[in-house]
């Protein structure tokens, strides 16, 4: 399979930067931020749905990266995926904290989820500078219908159970289960071919 050299070299740059951040190099942290913060803020917005919270989560994520970048070599995942897991985790922490504080906005947040149904998945441009693995996923997600794609993305980004997804998306539980099952089956077949 022809490799997209630009994505490969971006991964190589990110790996060097994360390595240097692991040695507490602030200039490297700055560059890592310049290159990846917009993408990571996009992830955070998708999860917390509110600009101020998303930026708080982004800040916490980069502090976490600063502290644990030295462990990255063991993670064996592409750099943006590794950072994405950190962002997801910080966002979920933040949502849990707000939920336990009975913040009335949490309810509004859940109610606003339905509009993500219209947002669809990332457009093709968004996959252009992604890792090879993410582009393979993008090709496979494109084969799902939009509702299946959305339910998979939301389940993953927000770590929701089937019933939470059903509640948030105002769908019957059985439908959510069927969609996820069908989507994962298709993804498995498709990603096996791509790999």
């Amino acid at each position: 399979m022809p490799r997209d050299s630009s994505a490969a070299s971006q991964d190589a740059v990110l790996m060097v930067l994360i390595d240097r951040v692991g040695h507490h190099d602030e200039a490297a942290l700055r560059q890592l931020y310049d290159i990846s913060a917009p993408r990571m803020l996009g992830v955070a917005m998708r999860i917390v749905r509110q600009r101020e919270w998303a930026e708080d989560a982004l800040q916490e994520s980069f502090l976490t990266i600063w502290r644990i970048a030295g462990d990255y070599r063991e993670a064996l995942s592409p750099p943006l995926a590794w950072m994405g897991l950190i962002v997801r985790s910080r966002c979920l922490d933040l949502l849990r904290k707000r939920a336990s504080g009975r913040d009335p906005q949490t309810q509004a947040l859940d109610e606003s989820t339905a509009d993500t149904l219209q947002s669809g998945c990332a457009d093709p441009m968004d996959a252009a500078d992604a890792s090879e693995q993410a582009r393979a996923l993008h090709r496979c997600l494109a084969q799902l219908d939009q509702r299946q794609r959305e339910v998979v993305s939301l389940a993953y980004l927000r770590e929701l159970t089937h019933s939470e997804l059903a509640a948030q998306m105002a769908l019957p539980l059985g439908t959510v289960k069927t969609w996820i099952r069908a989507a994962m089956d298709k993804l498995r077949t498709c990603m096996k071919q791509t790999a």
Partner: protein
Amino acid sequence: MNPSANPRLLDLLAASHALGTMHGAARRRFEALAREQPEVRAAALVWQARLAGISELQPAIAPDPAVWVRIQNLVDAEQRRQHPAPGRRGWLRSLALWRSVAAAGVFAAVLAAGAGLHLYQELRDAPAIRYVAVLADDKAAAAMLVTFDPKNRQLLLQRIGGFREAQNKSLQLWALPPGGAAPRSLGVIDSGPAIRLTALESQLRAVPALAVSLEPKGGVPGEGGPTGPVLFKGALIERSP
């Protein structure tokens, strides 16, 4: 329950685990199994690898400049305290699996399962890259990636922002030497998305930063330094030995 005896069930469980729809006791049971059984660990890792890309596929949004200032202040404060707090481990739950898999030597099984991880192995082993730089514009938006491979004496530049110079202009790359000495030209950047320039390591050694200026078509002679505005710059980062 022994999912390793039932590949289809195992696959389904690993998918739910990676997707995050498996919660609570079921999740804890699955992770306990994954610690004991290499097949379960491998299946979990394969699905984590498949889905991790979702976070790369979300639309990019430029953060407010204040976010970086806050991060920098917090990092500075932590540096001053001289004993950085250890990272909290809770979120590592999913990464812990990656790690135990690597430690248990199941990585080969995962590669065989075709998770596409061979690319990263390759990247990890291959790079002769010794220096990198992310050149950003005055709004801190990344515009160009630079890598230097000393073995092949090759500087590779890659445009990542939307900037395109006018037809009658050229971009020129400069090394900014320490102590405020005059910038030294590293070459003129053509209009392609990926540009290769030949350079010696001695031209980059001890150079703290690189910059790109906007010059008349074809660039300017190196001795006089840039004549046009500096559009992008960034620190030159040397890889750890």
